[in-house]
């Protein structure tokens, strides 16, 4: 629910979509899912045939009454049973045929709409993965999910249920109107006129209804939030003894939600029932006017009665009309959101097979006067110009917001620079990353994110994200390479162990370990790491650190360092401040320089010293420069 609430303003919406009317949105939506409209004419014909059935019956009633059942023309008593039998026989055949047509049209509507919407869903899903926004703005992921789930469901609900009802109803009303017009144009006007006030009121009803439902949705959102408090916040509620206060909040939310529901229910009930009154008025009018016309000699008894049967065909559609309008509005809004998503241009485009492939072997990186800023935002990275040699181990240091994460994202082409270029290669062979085909780029450069995100699957499946064709033996070999054999052996189900949602069956440190193995399997030449900040169990951390050392061995690496000990171990430290690269050198050089890095380092050392007796604490780390190299 909250997903939908947060939708507005998520995407930079092209203005023309925002302004477009409902019909235009539906047209665009249909053109995006051609499967929906495939064979639509046959479906429409079948559907039209299907509606004929219900209109045929009143005609038979009219004929039967006029031709035998006490009609005025033949006089009462003279019933022509044979003729009525023939009518009934013919109608049976018509009902059978129209029933088959209606059935076929429904199957076709379901099949076509489901096919079209499944394609739309998949296409939208793929498109989301092509948007750099996905990795930039984590808070808006929920609303992106809703576009491939609930929004598409809403469209499907509309097409198959209310939309179908609408088509059938409209068809039924058209057929009924035609039949009525043949029988008596005067009575037709009487019937249609009776429904005019209702039609005029429809939009008002629909508006009130959608407002009432908006309110209901809002209260449901609040309700879900507070009902979660005693569950998700159980230990807080208990340890602060705020049970009563929590219950009060819940009771209030329940009451508010109850009132909103009853209000909506009132509007719906009145709207729904209004059609019943109108039908009664229409029947009375048909009786009065029909009788008067009949006496003038224009109308038969059967016709008057047939009309009363025909009025019934208008009641259902009139009852459903407001519901249909509300659903249609929701469906159009959903369709609009999906279209917005699909029409947001993929900003980081794969050059595809036509691009330049990266040279195999050692890989370095070069930033040529790179500047980055978000649309309408401040400059995040300002004219960065730096070259990283192959096999160099680089640590990037800086405070939150200094631009160090942006630096890493540009390097892995999760985003493109606004000015300048990012290149990969060595010596004189450099390739602009934006020219490298994705499959080639991802094979050479891999980023290891801060949190070891795992998928709700087995350990094996998670590792295969690194390289999908790896055999079990190869997977085990990577554990060996990273000195993780003991950890792996201790898993009760080995590669078949399930890691749980987001890998929650494992500890944070173990998730990091799996993420490292996954990256090692991809065997990239260039690794970009975002160091984890959260404290993990020291023994697991020791294991992960060893594994990481082995992983980095022999590769070029850039690490976003949150611990200065990592910087001490690097060949080279890049210090960022307010989007600029302010210092560049080895740990020792930068400490000697006495600038930003030296200050950061001094405060870190002071903090480590707070731990008395700490062996090999930060201050002793000076000798660590150089790391393992090769």
């Amino acid at each position: 629910m909250s997903d939908t609430d947060a939708l507005d303003g998520v995407l930079p919406v092209p203005e023309e979509i925002e302004r477009e009317g409902s019909l235009a949105i539906i047209r665009r939506g249909l053109s995006l899912s051609p499967a929906i409209t495939q064979g639509i004419w046959l479906t429409a014909v079948l559907s039209a045939l299907g509606t004929v059935g219900s209109a045929v019956v009143p005609i038979v009633v009219q004929r039967a009454i006029d031709d035998g059942l006490g009609g005025s023309e033949t006089g009462s008593g003279a019933v022509d049973v044979g003729r009525i039998g023939m009518y009934v026989g013919v109608t049976l055949v018509v009902l059978l045929l129209t029933g088959i047509a209606a059935s076929l049209s429904k199957v076709r509507i379901f099949t076509a709409s489901e096919r079209g919407l499944a394609e739309l869903r998949v296409r939208a899903f793929r498109h989301v993965h092509d948007l750099s926004m996905l990795t930039q703005n984590t808070q808006r992921r929920g609303s992106l999910v809703s576009r491939v789930t609930s929004d598409v469901d809403q469209i499907s609900q509309f097409l198959q249920f209310t939309g179908l009802i609408m088509i059938v109803s409209v068809g039924q009303m058209i057929v009924a109107t035609i039949v009525m017009a043949f029988l008596s144009w005067q009575l037709t006007i009487v019937v249609l006129a009776s429904f005019v006030p209702l039609v005029l009121l429809l939009s008002t009803f629909a508006e009130r209804m959608s407002r009432a439902y908006d309110r209901v949705r809002a209260t449901v959102g609040e309700l879900l939030a507070v009902v979660g408090e005693p569950v998700v916040g159980a230990s807080v509620v208990r340890s602060y003894a705020i049970e009563e206060r929590t219950q009060r909040r819940i009771d209030d939310a329940i009451d508010t939600n109850y009132r909103a529901n009853v209000r909506a229910q009132t509007i719906v009930s009145v709207t729904f029932a209004s059609a019943t009154v109108v039908a009664g008025i229409a029947n009375a009018a048909v009786l009065g006017v029909g009788l008067w016309l009949g006496l003038l000699g224009d109308l038969s008894l059967g016709t008057v009665i047939a009309f009363i049967f025909l009025v019934g065909l208008f009641v259902g559609p009139a009852q459903m009309a407001t519901q249909v309008i509300t659903d249609a509005q929701n469906a159009v809004a959903s369709w609009r959101r999906v279209i917005e998503l699909l029409e947001t241009p993929a900003d980081v485009v794969d050059p595809g097979p036509g691009g330049e492939r990266l040279a195999d072997g050692d890989l370095g990186a070069r930033f040529r006067h790179v500047t980055f800023r978000y649309p309408d935002g401040p400059v995040v990275l300002d004219d960065v110009d730096v070259t990283i040699a192959p096999r160099q181990r680089v640590a990037v240091v800086g405070e939150t917001g200094s631009g160090k994460t942006t630096f890493a994202k540009l390097l892995t082409r999760l985003m493109d620079p606004v000015e300048g270029a990012v290149l990969l290669g060595r010596d004189d062979e450099w390739t602009d990353v934006s020219r490298a085909p994705f499959d080639d780029l991802r094979r050479h450069v891999v980023m290891v994110p801060q949190e070891g995100f795992l998928f709700d699957a087995t350990l094996r499946e998670n590792l295969l994200y690194g390289r999908s064709d790896a055999t079990d033996a190869e997977l085990v070999a990577v554990f060996d390479d990273l000195a993780l054999t003991d950890w792996f052996r201790a898993l009760p189900h080995g590669l078949d162990a399930r890691v749980g949602q987001r890998g929650e069956a494992l500890s944070a440190g173990e998730r990091q370990i799996v993420a490292l193995v996954r990256s090692a399997l991809a065997d990239p030449d260039f690794l970009v790491l975002d160091e984890a900040t959260s404290a993990v169990d020291p023994q697991t951390e020791l294991r992960a650190t060893r594994a990481l050392e082995r992983l980095l061995d022999g590769r070029t690496s850039v690490t976003i360092a949150h611990r200065l000990s990592t910087a001490e171990n690097a060949d080279r430290v890049l210090v960022f401040d307010a989007g600029r690269l302010v210092e560049d050198g080895s740990h020792r050089e930068l400490v000697a320089l006495g600038g930003t890095y030296a200050r950061l380092h001094a405060s870190w050392v002071a903090q480590q010293k707070l731990a008395p007796g700490a062996v090999g604490a930060g201050s002793a780390g000076g000798g660590a420069v150089g790391g393992s190299g090769s």
């Binding site: 039998g85 009518y87 076929l104 198959q160 230990s235 807080v236 009930s269 995100f453 993420a515 660590a624």
Partner: protein, 615 residues
Amino acid sequence: MSDNKPSTPSTDNLAAGSADPRGLTRRGFAVLGIGIGRERFMFALAVVFSLLFGLMTVADAWVLGYATDHVIRPSFDRGDITDGTLWVAIGLFIAVALLRTVGVVGRRLAGGIVFYRLVAADRRRVTRKYLELPLSWHQSHPTGQLLSNANADVEAIWSVFMPLPMALGVLAMLVGAVATMLVADAVLTLVGLVVFPALFAINIVYQRWQGPRMAHAQSLRGDVSAIAHESFDGALVVKSLGREDDETRRFAAAAERLRDANIGVGRIRAVFDPVLEALPNLGILAVLLLGALRVESGAAEPGDVVQIAFLFTVVAMPVRAIGWVLGELPRSVVGWDRVRTVLDDDAHMPYGTRALAGEGPVALRVDDLGFSHEPLADGGVPVLSDLSFDVAPGSVTAVVGATGSGKSTLTSLVTRLVDPVTGTVSLDGVDVRDLSHAGLAASVALVPQSTFLFDDSVRSNVTLGAEVDDDAVWDALRVVQAERFVSALPHGLDTELGERGTSLSGGQRQRLALARALVRRPRLLVMDDATSALDPDVEQRILRALADQTADGTGPSVLVVAYRKATIALADTVLHLADGRIVGRGPHDELHARSAAYRDLVDAYDQAREEVDHE
């Protein structure tokens, strides 16, 4: 994502139910009875309105028959409008329509109120129960399941009450229809006696076929949503490993399964809908044919035939309501069982009546403490055993140990969120089990590992309703280094945090949770790795401020679970836990010098670095 998790058991239950539909239906009627009992008056009102609706529907057809025989035919025969009968007929049409409308509005409204009241009342029951049940119970039940018990399950039980009044009205309508038919013509009634039960039966078969298919489609919808959530959450991994196409294939497979299930649902509908629509029409045709014979033989009037034929058109749609009710019953029972499981749980943890005397930091004494989730006799694994230690008033004790050593459990026992299996926890010599709930909360504050913020203002999140003035709130925020970011929020203390405080960073959330504990001036503060998301220097500043308070006697006694060496070093005493036992205790320096295991633990990171240096 958690919301679709419970859908699996529910479909399982439904599937199990369809193996024994009769038992499920019988139990469903029992649930109906309970609901009716709870909302007797409103439900009776809904039924009265529904009966009005049902009878007026039959009356509609009767008026048509009456008009045919007494108004239209005589007038046509004679060539002029007879007497006032036309006006009677017109009046009857309108009056019946108005009464029927009243019936419809009343039925829907009263029925809706019954449903919403039943749901609201059960939601209150379930959430009250959640607030009563001990934390140990909460810990053994998945969050997603509990949320779904209070929301979806409660609605599932009672949603049958939406169509129920209508279904009862329809039953009355059917009785009325058959009665008026009998009055009109006994032979023609036979048609009704065939058509109505057929409509009824087909509806039930339809619900039986469709129910499991729809439940299946619903669970597939959950799969699609879960994959989308997961794939977008893990976008960084997907992208950096170039797995977009594989992810799309994975999603497409789920989307296609959902598509096929939905098409299956549509196929069933495409077969049943036309049959259900055709049935009343077939009835009308049968009535016309039979009616012609009856009228010919003089046994029936034409008006009778018209009336009975018209009955089929007005009764056909409402009859489906009975099918809806029967279709909802299994869902209702499943919801009922799941909610009952919560409400019938008798786990409880009674509080005492005492309060702690005096003020200032308290002495914590832990004596021979032991804990296991399952009784040891049943093969339970001890989480903590033979734990004894003291925290002197105004001192700081750090608890150190590897994952799974029992640190978090210890914090729950000390704050009496959970009771031990053996041993005691006492504050100033009073067993915590003798303390009243309020007395305990007034003396002891726990800052748990994962921060929970309420969908409320910053102020309310800190005070949690306690009578504390803004100065005290700002004081607490100052100690936890949160003054700056809170005053930078758009409305300061009045800023609404939104659901779970997602607008704040992890570190900011932890600082508010700390302020929440401090503002109450607890006499014992227990922190379970409560500063893990903070920058080390911020953590240091907070802990220094705390330690200063404690040292000059104004602060609480402190028990802190920690990883970072600098944090540990602030403590007067360190308890080293391994496998649920204390394996070392003393000041950090001393332990560090004495115990290799302790050294391994707290130096792990530095050690890793040294090894690398030597390679």
